[in-house]
Symmetry: C2
Subunit: 330 residues, 2 copies
């Protein structure tokens, strides 16, 4: 298998990206990792690592896409970017998957408009957020489509269910529609219409769900428009940060509780590790004609390595072909 | 001041409701608390308390609204419910505010369609959720309007800003529009249009905000449609519950960390108390022609007592008149 990595993706590029690639190359010795970006920068970083015997190759790409770049502008404006070059390798069959910690909007735009394009029949590709919870539930769309039609949400159900099968191994993952109440008839107009389409599908659709059903791990796939999905993810992140911050500062206010906090630290660390988004790696871009995983710009090498692992899984499972079939027959 | 309490509201009615009223009557000896509901039930519960000298009165109402009742059906179908009778007392000037722990949809419907009606010019009343965070930020709408137009969101800004002034004492609270990114141009179509209206207003509008800005206490008022607002609130609740559950179970797995957890317990309890929704009391229904506070069905007496306190504050501040003026001049 050949995994193409955007070596210019993360905020700490190329250090985090290249280090993650080296770690992945050690983990998966039978696979090739193709580093795409400025050759001199990549080589300088590789020189910091022990790479003898590792299956790492470099493909030069001259242009860099920055976090501040606008998706519309880079699609035609930076045709030699590491994203264009890397995604074209996948399009041409010279790579099996593309992984980037770079600008999400630009990865999406370059994938859809300039390189891989959509899987036939897919109305709108979606970004799937895998929550770093023990059950690894997936929420989509996480921001690719702020305004949706009911049939987009229906297709998110098909694509999310297939990806959840890949991650969890379940043949028929449970799919729920995020709503402001579980009862039938709850929801905004979009959700009510999408619910009808999903109910009539062959998916393992459980109807309306609330955030608690998703967070508890009961539901494998949560469907929402990209605006709502993005706000759910960010609310969960902000709540976790606020709560841990309050706990930390209150524990520090007394001597006994400080000692207690020290004794409990390994347990708190385990919780932190469980919920560490870097353990997941990145977010799959579903509906484009190739495997694409997009990570946070702030990713360290662990997230890069895990995103490469995710990409491998999606290739092995045949996510793209499964979505092709799912959309055709759906 | 006369506060009207739906004594038939909570799941543990009338015990929680009446006990909360007794506690409030002790706290606010100059005010009258009017308990509305089945006289025999209320009297039986009052007999469990020391009420000599407390300013508690009973107004009989024969019908009960259940949590499973449908708003549309009760508006005309249960005209002698404790909600109808209580809200009519406020409408007729025999009470200054109405408080209920009952069915939210029914309280909303009976307020809007059968009793208080809307403040002139208000397109859609909204439910404001006050987050139990130190800064007491308010998010609206929290579920009254699943589908919104830009001008509804604009009015939510006016009403939310006034209510935040009442709660925080700030003359010009900061108002933000919940979006999937802070940059201008982020948002779904609704948010983009509402942002234009809010930007042109005299509110202290800061533009698009993300959940973290709201949770951190930087923003006093967060505006969203009722679908998104409800999901934000429920995601925050679900995340807090998931995280505290994980911490609790991990702490219990080892002896040292268990001891640590015991030592840190007072600190963890303080965090729990800070984030206790019962400390807030309930959610204001903004835009109807009277002060209405709606609490959780699962409320205990503390939430009831605090909801009565909230209602008093809103009456003292003159929230309804301020909204009348704000909507007229907005």
């Amino acid at each position: 298998m050949k995994i193409v990595l955007d070596a210019m993706g993360s905020e700490n590029m190329p250090a985090a990206d290249v280090t993650g690639a080296v770690e992945a190359a050690r983990l998966y010795p039978n696979d090739e990792i193709i580093l795409v970006g400025r050759q001199s920068l990549i080589e300088a970083e590789l020189a910091n690592h022990q790479t003898v015997g590792l299956n790492l190759t470099i493909v030069h790409a001259d242009e860099l896409i920055e976090m501040t770049d606008k998706p519309r502008e880079v699609v035609r404006g930076k045709p030699n970017s590491s994203m264009h070059v890397g995604l074209n390798l996948v399009k041409e069959g010279k790579g099996d998957a593309f992984v980037s910690m770079g600008n999400t909007g630009c990865t999406l735009a370059v994938s859809m408009l300039a390189t891989l394009r959509r899987i036939p029949g897919v109305k709108r590709p979606a970004i799937g957020a895998i929550f770093p919870l023990p059950a690894r539930p997936i929420l989509l769309d996480n921001g690719a489509n702020a305004d949706c039609q009911p049939d987009y949400l229906y297709q998110f159900g098909i694509m999310g269910s297939i990806y959840a099968s890949c991650v969890t191994g379940k043949a028929r993952p449970t799919v729920g529609l995020v709503s402001n109440g579980e009862e039938d008839g709850k929801g905004n107009d979009l959700v009510k219409e999408a619910g009808k389409l999903l109910s009539a599908s062959s998916l393992n659709f459980v109807g309306n769900i609330e955030p608690k059903d998703f967070m508890s791990g009961e539901i494998d796939v949560a469907i929402a428009d990209g605006f709502v999905g993005n706000i759910m993810l960010k609310t969960a992140e902000a709540t976790a940060r606020t709560l841990t911050g309050l706990i930390r500062s209150e524990i520090k206010t007394g001597m006994l509780s400080s000692i207690g906090g020290m004794l409990a630290r390994p347990a708190l660390r385990r919780v932190g590790a469980m919920l560490d988004p870097d353990e997941v790696g990145g977010a799959p871009l579903l509906g484009v004609n190739g495997v694409v995983i997009i990570g946070h710009g702030s990713s360290g090498s662990k997230a890069v390595r895990n995103a490469i692992g995710q990409a491998r899984e999606a290739v092995e499972f045949g996510v793209v072909d499964a979505i092709k079939q799912g959309i055709e027959s759906g």
